[in-house]
Amino acid sequence: MPQRSLIRAGGVLLAASLALTACGSRDSGGGSNSGGTTTKTAKIGVIAPLSGDLSALGKGIQHSVELAVKQANDSNAIPGWKLEVYAVDDEGKAEVGKNAATKLAADDAVVGVVGNLNSSVSQQTQPVFAAAKITQISPANTNPTLTKGADAANPKRTYATYFRTCTTDAIQGPFAAQYLLANGMTKVATIHDKKAYGQGLVDAFTAEFKKGGGTVTSAQTINPDESNYQAVVSAISPTGPQAVYYGGEYPQAGPLSQQMKAAGLNVPLMGGDGIYDPKYVDLAGKTSEGDLSTSVGAPTDSTDAGKKFLADYDAAKYAEPAAAYGGYSYDAANAIINALKVSLKDAANAKAARDATTTEVGKVSFDGVTGKVSFDEYGDATSKVLTVYKVTGGKWVAAKTDTFK
């Protein structure tokens, strides 16, 4: 008996909640339509980690988009329309990200989205936005498969709605190889942590390095759960490398650099954007001077447009700094806004403009704060600017910014 009554109660609850959600969606649909008698509203979504370890980067993305939208509204960039920012938190986690994306997609006023920060999260949100035909532009995803699919030899665009303003890992490794060769280093040892990011970087690096006439003296791996790498350092030392290329992130790279130098292997360690972090220098200590890393794009404060962006950002007095991906997020938001200028012009409501927005984003071409903003047939940024950073005086300092060829 108690079981049956429980089922009945459950049924009632279920019916009630269904009725409630139905009401909810009808309400929000009506709201966005009736809101536009004279000026209609369209929303640009932000999906990024707004809480947790990565929130410093996520908040920078959010505020940069807010800045772009505010400037567009102030200059009345799209006559008859008012833009709003709708920010949701993905916590840097794939599952949370998927739910947050669904929330954005359910809002009829959303026409474009900036995010996510993590490649692993974008993997989950891409299909959600694609199904809702919402344009998604990531300011920070560096995993090549997001645009070109899993098979690198036969690239095939995965989602027509996905774009990114930053460059990818597939050119970070080769860019590092060219830098080392250009600086007369032809003998390099490689180490990676056997994770997808690290191994991918080292593979791409090795191919380019050998093509350019360099020799890999020793190829090693480490276990990222450990913190003592002496055995590996001893294995590569006698092969006489002029530098060590490491594929992985700073929590391992820092101690590795320190232990290399303590063991008498006084050559620079070089890595990708995974080690481009102030914490790397903390962990690697004083002996990290001269260590190298690559990161996507030019330093934001190195161009006039970038300086203006940072000044505007400061003037707007956001609680958190623009951080590493601020410039990319600002450019991503402006790419959407530029597309909206065309797609919203004759649209009855925001939802009807979604398809046209995707088409228009594919065609944008303007000078952004990180360089020329435009996308190729896969949705990747056409500008392939990278920067080599060098530890100088205990800080990462830009050593060379160049376009990858």
Binding site: S227, V232, S234
Partner: protein
């Protein structure tokens, strides 16, 4: 040859660290037949004790005179933790079935890890460990072999600690009491030995060595985090079993053997024939090391030096 010697040096260094921790497992097991799985965390807290002493009491100075104070800070933190742990987590379970304190030990281990992660400032990610003058810095070169300063510190620490421990166990009244309790606690109690005190002393001895190991690990690796106790504890426990659990000399030998095997395996499995080299190098070293361990235990279940545990059937 240089390469072999180099990996031997690396192995002895790593092994000394394992040995310092392994002694704690073996001493406690010898007295109360408890595998104190939280001992790895005692080691981790020792490392954080040293770092805390350095950051908050010593004003982040890097001159050599801060080292003894850091070691005292480490030992105080680890010993305090071990003694409190014994009093509140293990003593109430002294006469409970064998499995109860074992599970408690796992619980204490998780508790200590989380406590450090949540309450030590910045401990959610790796923290840089101070590099002290004289004991860190440019390595010594002996022929083609590089000997790091922190490695020397670890080995010397092991030698001193092992000597003092041997003197303590064999030459003092308290030490003799430990031997007596490990042989037969009931008779020892009848002979007027305070068994509870002996047990506390056993925990404290292990913790002192673990504290020193914490400093050594920090100096060697230049960083610590709240997880270091798990892997180090596992390896040290393995070393204790390999040497013969309950046997202090065995723990030292077991630690050194384990460390050397690990280092040599990293170097030489790269040259395995028949395409097996794909299973070589650093990331496979634990697989090979533990395969060797299983082999040793199949043929010598009592460990290399023989277990010293009285069968109390």
């Amino acid at each position: 040859m240089d390469l072999f010697m180099q990996q031997l040096v690396n192995g002895v260094t790593l092994g000394s660290l394992y040995a310092l921790i392994a002694v704690g497992y073996t001493v406690v097991y010898g007295i109360v037949q408890l595998i104190n799985f939280a001992h790895g965390e005692v080691f981790m807290i020792g490392a954080f004790g040293a770092l805390g002493t350095w950051s908050y009491l010593l004003g982040e100075s890097t001159s050599i005179w801060v080292l003894p104070i850091m070691i005292i800070g480490a030992v105080a933190a680890s010993t305090g933790t071990a003694v409190i742990m014994e009093r509140f987590a293990y003593r109430p379970l002294r006469h409970a079935p064998r499995l109860a304190p074992l599970i408690t030990a796992i619980g204490v281990s998780v508790f200590l890890q989380e406590a450090v992660r949540l309450f030590y400032p910045g401990a959610k990610s790796k923290l840089p460990f101070p590099q002290i003058d004289v004991v860190t810095g440019p390595a010594f070169k002996l022929g083609g072999v590089v000997i790091q300063r922190a490695a020397l510190f670890t080995v010397i620490a092991l030698v001193i600690c092992a000597l003092l421990l041997w003197l303590f166990v064999n030459r003092t009244k308290l030490g003799r009491g430990m031997l007596a309790v490990s042989q037969d606690p009931d008779t020892a109690r009848l002979m007027g030995i305070n068994v509870d005190r002996i047990i506390v002393v056993a925990f404290a001895l292990g913790a002192i060595l673990a504290g020193v190991a914490g400093v050594a690990q920090g100096l060697q690796n230049s960083n610590i985090d709240f997880r270091i106790g798990f892997l180090a504890g596992l390896k040290a426990f393995t070393a204790a079993v390999l040497g013969g659990i309950g046997n202090i000399e065995g723990a030292v030998v077991g630690g050194l053997v384990l460390g050397v095997v690990e280092a040599l395996v990293t170097q030489y499995t790269q040259y395995l024939p028949f395409g097996l080299s794909a299973f070589g190098g650093s990331s496979w070293k634990d697989v090979w090391t533990f395969a060797l361990l299983i082999l040793v235990l199949v043929f010598r279940p009592q460990g290399l030096m023989g277990a010293r545990v009285v069968d109390r059937a």
